[in-house]
Symmetry: C2
């Protein structure tokens, strides 16, 4: 019988916290022009990545992110015991086609924009559970593939509402190992699906904020930690509206997050100059912010304790067409030096 790792309702404290051996990101032109430009490994000048379809471009991003993260971890694909990957496209084709060449044991995931936290959670849990010594988590999104699948063809030039978010053209990958120095994944809080009846696909921040509130609250209750324990609690990607709503929800509970809270959707772009309404979204948003700004910041000593809480909206255009609301989920991963 294995040692039980459960703490409270939905948090697992890893008994041998896996180490982040390597991390990398790949972004498109617009992301490379944003405020985090210095934190990216690969910036493509035209978002096509040399491919003839946007879908091929997205999978190329995922391949590049995996290979770059492996190289930085001084590992090869053959050394990977498990790869966890997912994306936003129907049937998760970015992940499947990207992983086809790597020839590694593969688990496909769907967590919408929460996928970086979901994949990182499972990759860390696998190692802590004794399932190998090296795992990886990778995800991506591409503005041009997501826009035409979820909203309208790009050629329509549809107007965007003020609450809309801009799907990031980005991929991120984290390689974990059982040995080595560096930031460690210490806790995983697995999200429960939250649905407050929000039906507007142009206001996903509102739909996902409740999930972030629920999971972060559970994490703090389960671990007995106060929010001040973390140098930074970062959600991804609620956007400006969701960011403000989350602060307000915690304020009602007497918890002041204003000093150590940020959101990947607010960080990736310059909202005004880059005309992205409420901010960034897409699996690649929190993935590229984690594997750039956040983990580079930890390496530089800016933060010692990070709570990474990627959020996802689990709807589909079909579900919305049938009158459904948008359920949200958030998984929280504690990363500590």
């Amino acid at each position: 019988m294995s040692e039980q790792k459960k703490r409270g309702e939905q948090t697992f404290a890893l008994s041998t916290p896996p180490t982040i051996l390597g991390f990398a990101n790949v972004v498109g032109k617009k992301e490379g022009e944003g405020p985090l430009c210095a934190t990216f490994d690969i910036i493509n000048p035209d978002t096509s990545f040399g491919e003839d379809t946007w879908e091929r471009a997205e999978r190329t991003m995922q391949k590049l992110a995996l290979n770059k993260a492996l190289a930085k971890a001084q590992k090869t694909a053959r050394e990977l015991d498990l790869l966890f990957a997912g994306d936003l496209l129907n049937q998760c084709i970015s992940s499947s086609y990207a992983a086809r060449d790597a020839q590694v044991p593969f688990f496909g995931l769907y967590g919408a924009c929460s996928t970086m936290a979901e994949s990182l959670s499972l990759a860390a849990m696998a190692l802590d559970g004794g399932f190998g010594s090296c795992t990886a988590a990778v995800t991506s999104s591409h503005f041009c593939t997501a826009e035409r699948q979820y909203r309208t063809p790009l050629e329509y030039g549809a107007q965007r509402t003020p609450t809309a978010q801009w799907t990031a053209t980005a991929a991120g990958c984290v390689v974990l190992g059982t040995e080595g120095g560096g930031p460690r994944v210490t806790h995983v809080t697995v999200g429960k699906i939250q649905d407050k009846g929000i039906q507007d696909p142009n206001n996903m921040g509102a739909a996902m904020t409740w999930a972030a509130y629920d999971t972060i609250s559970a994490h703090l209750a389960d671990t007995g930690r106060s929010s001040a324990y973390y140098d930074l609690i970062v959600t991804g990607d609620l956007g400006q509206l969701g960011h403000d709503l989350l602060l307000e929800l915690f304020q009602r509970d007497g918890v002041d997050l204003s000093g150590n809270y940020d959101d990947c959707g607010c960080l990736l772009y310059d909202r005004q100059a880059q005309d992205v309404q409420c901010g960034a979204s897409g699996c690649g948003c929190s993935a590229s912010v984690l594997t750039g700004y956040l983990l580079r910041g930890m390496q530089a000593g800016t933060w010692q304790r990070l709570l990474f809480c990627a959020t996802g909206a689990l709807h589909s255009p079909t579900a919305l067409g049938q009158g459904e609301a948008i359920p949200g989920i958030c998984h929280a991963v504690a990363i500590e030096l």
Copy 2:
């Protein structure tokens, strides 16, 4: 540092094999008229499950399967430490909307028709790794949701090719625990994506067989077991064509599977009388055969050692439209008394 469970390339031997505490399935009218009719828990007379859309019908099946399996395991949803679920629909809406009410820590998966093996693998690995004491794996497919998403609207009445398979209207759920008697999950072999260039979405058996061949071969090599060790090796769902091709591939290696091999896609329907061409497919096919015919058979003493190898085709209509081939994956789960 946790005890390492890896054997060979891609197999994990669970150190404290989790027990199958409960299992259940839910099927539609056609499945209820097939040869396995006596092995189903719930048979709906009209496949609508009382809902006004096929998508809602599918999620209702998943809810019913989860609740029935929990009841048979004498557990409540609140006792579930983790739920692993996935389905075929865009953005996996059957799983997300079904799990919304259960309020359990949730990981969404996408493994196409391999999802029953993927979810069962992760649910077993989680328990063996110390992540809780009760987990569940659930998946579903519905002929009417899949047909219109992947092929043509039902109203077209499109002709089917002789190599086509019929998407099962079915859901299956397995509840696992760290304690209790019953069949146990002893080994998990995680699949690598295989792609032999098959581009015909009406011949998925051919596309997926290579993945089954690769994973079963890896399982036998990794564990040092001969194929005769298992009372039954069952793939799901290659259909008749894939079934025959798999036998041939192993024959070339000098391995005779003819005495202890079957396929969920061949088992679910009476192929001639029910006009289903090469057999059944869909996540719900292997899920309902596992949670009916197979696990009931183990309970009845028909088999002691089962290798359950669900197979999935990881393409999408968009990918095929862009000239891609159909990559396949297969995960193998050893279930032993």
